[in-house]
Amino acid sequence: MSGAESGDLWTEALGGLRAELRRRLAQVRGEEVEPAAVEAGVDWLALLEDVRRRFGQLGMRERSGEVDDFGLDPETIRSARLLLDFLIKRWWRIEVLGLEHVPDDRAVLFVANHSGLLPWDGLALAEIVAARHGERQRPRFLIADWLITLPFVQPALARLGGVRACRENAERLLGAGHSVVAFPEGVKGAAKTFRDRYRLQRFGRGGAVRLALEAGVPVVPVAIVGAEETHPILFKVETPARALGLPFLPVTPTFPWLGPLGALPLPSKWVISFGEPLASTGRETEAAADDLLVARLTEELRGEVQRLVREALRVRQGVFT
């Protein structure tokens, strides 16, 4: 159906409606009206079909149907940009430090502290790097297993560049030349209570360092400050969570009291600080096989991220300012 044709349909329908109203009004006033002289036939079914078709087009517009191998849809990102920009610039007023340390010509492994139940930190980090170095350099953030099982969350994150955190995926992404954001603290980082905020947990089993060594990519340590306060976990409940198949149920000042609204992040002030890339030694594959060396490098990396976090905390004056 062409635009002009459907436009006519609308004018016709509105015209009919107007004529009908005028007739009723005249009747109320008690004027003499010749009955149904001006009544125009309105094809309500055609109108309904038109509305449905318009909605269909609207639904089609937000997706290109071309996702990449990992499910990222550039069209979804484009339509989410307004919201992401608002969150980054207005809601969290993210202050970015040391972005010049991020090389723009090659894939890197970002290693960051993790916080918050929903991966807002990874999303914000990816968006900031993509805004600076272009969409082609958009890093993919790794997301925890339990998010994969959540309805709505999983498809949305996948279209925005989230990939399940596992060795095979990270290797494949780096091999394809994509930067990767890893949170080696994992669920332990996301699930820590407010009391333990900004205290880095154990860095997994050294997988991140081994991955970077094997793929031969530099590691960029990143501190993300502020994400802890988006969903401050007061305490965790485990028994009802198990019935829902979740590892735990967080209790925050807003969740579950406000229902789904409680899942909205609080407007804390954020600082994201990029450290200098850790130099590669040139003997990566041998180093990757040396477990003790990997463990030591992992500990060093954790120290570096912790140092960046402390620095960033000093930059920020208060939680909301």
Binding site: G59, M60, R63, G65, E66, V67, D69, F70, G71, D73, D145, I148, T149, L150, P151, F152, Q154, P155, A158, V163, R164, C166, R167, E168, N169, R172
Partner: protein, 319 residues
């Protein structure tokens, strides 16, 4: 010298179409095996009646392989879709394969090609985005035909290790679509209103029937040993597939859909709904790299394969 190729499951889609293709090639002797004689048998295919579910199928097969001096066996005697006859499916797919392996060992068949499916990896939330051929075969506990194939693949792997003299090719195609292919999956996708899982939109991967047959043809006529995923390039979310086809979707919360045991799968497949719908919930995309290096790139990407299938469907609806 005429090379002879035996195809089990001559009446299945892959068996029939593969036999038709191979019959066009010069210098091949084709032996088609099935329980019943198919209608419209391609000329040049010699039919032998074999029922793989019978206890003496092994020796009967070995006789045929011996007499015809079979050099390649292509094993395609699998259900195209699950049937409510769980026992029968198991007898055919698992025990039938066992008989076939015994016959191959007895007759000393030098080459065996087995048709499996990428469904054997199973849909699991902890799958990596791309499953390589080495990934453990976990199947799905409620999809009995998939479980049969998993068991069959284990037997084939064991057998291969014990018979180093035989070159074994295992081909795992993903969901096949195309102008003429029909099974439970394409029937599901061809519904006017397609029930989907509310809140889930997995990436799917399809392969075109012609690409799939190309790979089987090359595996039957050339020497390629190993396990290969047979998939097209690219992945497409389920919602996009359905939208491209102009379908309406009916998103149903998974707990509700899983309780509707009579609708629509239970009656037709004998499985609980999870056995099918979990494949529309979690990732089970296979990595095709090894297959592409061995057999060449497929002509159709996932998206193109789907477009080819739905354009054929539209043409049919005008008839």
């Amino acid at each position: 010298m005429a090379k002879s190729i035996a195809i089990t499951g001559l009446r299945t889609f892959l068996g029939r179409r593969l036999a038709e293709r191979l019959a066009l090639l010069p210098g091949l002797r084709l032996i088609g095996l099935d329980r019943l004689r198919p209608h419209g048998l391609a000329s040049g295919v010699a039919f032998r009646e074999i029922d793989l579910t019978r206890p003496d199928a092994g020796s009967a097969l070995a006789d045929v392989f011996h007499k015809e001096d079979v050099e390649v066996v292509v094993h395609l005697a699998f259900r195209r879709e699950p049937s409510p006859d769980l026992e029968g499916d198991h007898e055919l797919e698992t025990i039938g394969s066992l008989h076939l392996l015994h016959a191959c060992a007895g007759a000393g068949v030098p080459r065996l090609v087995v048709g499996s499916s990428t469904m054997v990896y199973g849909p699991h939330p902890d799958n990596p985005n791309f499953l390589t051929e080495e990934h453990p075969l976990r199947g799905h506990p409620h999809a009995h035909c998939v479980q049969n194939r998993v068991e069959m693949e284990r037997m084939v792997a064991d057998w291969t290790a014990r018979h180093p003299g035989t070159s074994v090719t295992v081909l795992r195609p993903c969901w096949i679509v195309g102008p003429t292919y029909r099974d439970a999956v394409t029937r599901y996708l061809a519904r006017r209103v397609v029930p989907t899982l509310l809140g889930y939109d997995p990436l799917l991967q399809l392969v075109h029937e012609d690409d799939c047959l190309d790979v089987f043809e090359r595996a039957a006529t050339e020497h390629h040993s190993g396990v290969f995923n047979v998939v097209a390039e690219g992945v497409v979310p389920l919602s996009t597939l359905l939208r491209r086809a102009g379908k309406r979707t009916l998103p149903v919360p998974p707990p509700v859909l899983y309780r509707l045991r009579a609708y629509p799968s239970q009656a037709q497949t004998g499985d609980r709904p999870e056995g099918f719908y979990d494949y529309l919930r979690y990732l089970w995309v296979a990595d095709g790299q090894r297959g592409w290096e061995e057999f060449g790139r497929p002509l159709y990407s996932t998206r193109e394969a789907w477009m080819s299938a739905i354009s054929a469907e539209r043409m049919r609806s005008y008839r």
